[in-house]
């Protein structure tokens, strides 16, 4: 494209445009796009992260359930068996412990939730599982 009439031509900058420089902008944009897609949940194009559900990476949900007993298991016992959880504490003394992560071979891919309720006495009351599909 020629310069507008009556306007002096712009001097070429001293830095020449090299191939890698030309590629830099699209590459940077792609990186930013991918970072945005990754998002806080760590998802990239629907592919789940491989964050394990429990501290013991190979532990299944059924094995987790078998390792505890409602009305008997304490927080310390559950912590020792399953590892650290996200804990939500309530003024009533109840606590909800949340384990979230991937279960090997599960369909569809995504995060499974294993949720445990402790009563004010610190003893397990019940648990529930939510699959990535919500069932």
């Amino acid at each position: 494209m020629s310069a507008a009439p009556g306007r002096p031509k712009q001097a070429r900058t001293a830095v020449r445009s090299t191939p890698w420089r030309r590629a830099a902008v699209p590459l940077l944009s792609l990186c930013l796009l991918l970072a945005g897609c990754a998002g806080p949940a760590g998802l990239l194009f629907g592919q789940a992260t491989t964050e394990p559900l429990f501290g013991e990476k190979t532990m299944s949900v059924q094995a987790a359930r078998d390792s505890m007993a409602p009305g008997r298991s304490t927080k310390a016992e559950v912590l020792a068996a399953l590892g650290k959880a996200t804990v939500v504490k309530f003024d009533s003394g109840y606590e909800v412990w949340v384990y979230r992560g991937s279960v090997a071979g599960s369909q569809p891919t995504g995060k499974t939730e294993f949720v445990i309720l402790f009563g004010p006495d610190g003893v397990l009351k019940k648990s529930r599982v939510r699959s990535p599909s919500g069932s």
Binding site: V115, G134, S135
Partner: protein, 291 residues
């Protein structure tokens, strides 16, 4: 919304000499002016203090009568979402020390003033009064600001125990927004920022979002919530319970949320997800031994 104290940048201590002299001159003029004012006031007889009071709706425990009436209008216009349900409004405790017994509510305008009967479960309906509407009256309970919160209560009769109907909840959200029951920014700055960021956040249109963060309160502390439509069942993820507390830090301040006391009963619904029909049942599993 949380307010934090940012570190303020320090002012430069060195002022140009000219600016310093100008500042000193202005300060001197101001002091001289104050002296003159003091001498003048000494000569004028002192008048008795007159206190002028006016009702304003800055206190969130009071609600606008007009807005609530508009919410009632919306309920009638969109009654199809919950054809068998009736509309009531509900007061809920926001703080542990709030006395929820024998609350009195009045509608107060400039010339109109009438009581609102409150049911034992702290629900009420509002009578239509043209004068109160014209005078932009306030609905005023006899409790301190931030001691209570308000919600709509729209329930289809005859549902199984521990369930709600999704269409009822959709209408609760819309009417609640239209009635101005939700006002949860802790500061004016927060309200302005919220309005700029999301112009629909305080309108019924907000309820059409797939996952609006309109807080519903169950009757009892919750352990799980499941949507059921025919053979289709879907449990809410944990971040839709407890006001999203599972996503927060342990020391998160919830004082700006009206779920402060009721956090174990709160849940969000996918109101705008129309793949769930209005007749969808919302099943609650409670923390207690009963379901």
């Amino acid at each position: 919304m949380h307010l934090c104290h940012a570190n303020r940048p320090r002012l430069r201590s060195k002022l140009p000499l000219g600016s310093a002299l100008l500042f000193a001159g202005l300060l001197g003029c101001a002091m001289a002016s104050t002296d003159a004012g003091a001498q003048q006031s000494a000569a004028v007889p002192v008048l008795p203090t007159v206190t002028v009071t006016a009702k304003a709706n800055r206190d969130p425990v009071e609600k606008s009568y007009r807005k609530i009436i508009r919410g009632m209008d919306l309920f009638e216009a969109q009654h199809g979402l919950a054809p068998a349900a009736t509309l009531r409004f509900k007061l809920l405790a926001r703080r542990r020390d709030t006395d929820m017994q024998q609350i009195e509510i009045n509608v107060i305008g400039t010339s109109v003033d009438f009581p609102v009967p409150l049911a034992p479960d702290n629900t009420f309906t509002l009578e239509r009064n043209k004068l109160a509407f014209d005078e932009d009256a306030q609905v005023v309970p006899d409790r301190k600001a931030r001691s209570m919160t308000w919600r709509t209560d729209i329930r289809t009769p005859g549902l199984p125990p521990h369930t709600r109907r999704l269409g009822d909840l959709r209408l609760e959200c819309r009417v609640g927004m239209e009635a101005g029951l939700i006002s949860e920014s802790v500061s004016l700055v927060g309200r302005i920022a919220g309005a700029l960021v999301s112009p629909f956040v305080n309108t019924p249109a907000y309820c059409d979002k797939v996952d609006p963060q309109y807080l519903f309160f169950a009757d009892r502390p919750l352990f799980g919530v499941t949507l059921v439509a025919g053979t289709r069942r879907q449990a809410l993820p944990i971040d839709r319970l407890y006001g999203g507390a599972s996503e927060e830090r342990d020391d998160e301040d919830r004082s700006g949320c009206d779920c402060e006391l009721l956090v174990d009963r709160t849940y969000f619904m996918p109101l705008g997800d129309r793949s769930w029909p209005d007749d969808t049942l919302v099943e609650f599993e409670t923390m207690g031994d009963g379901k």
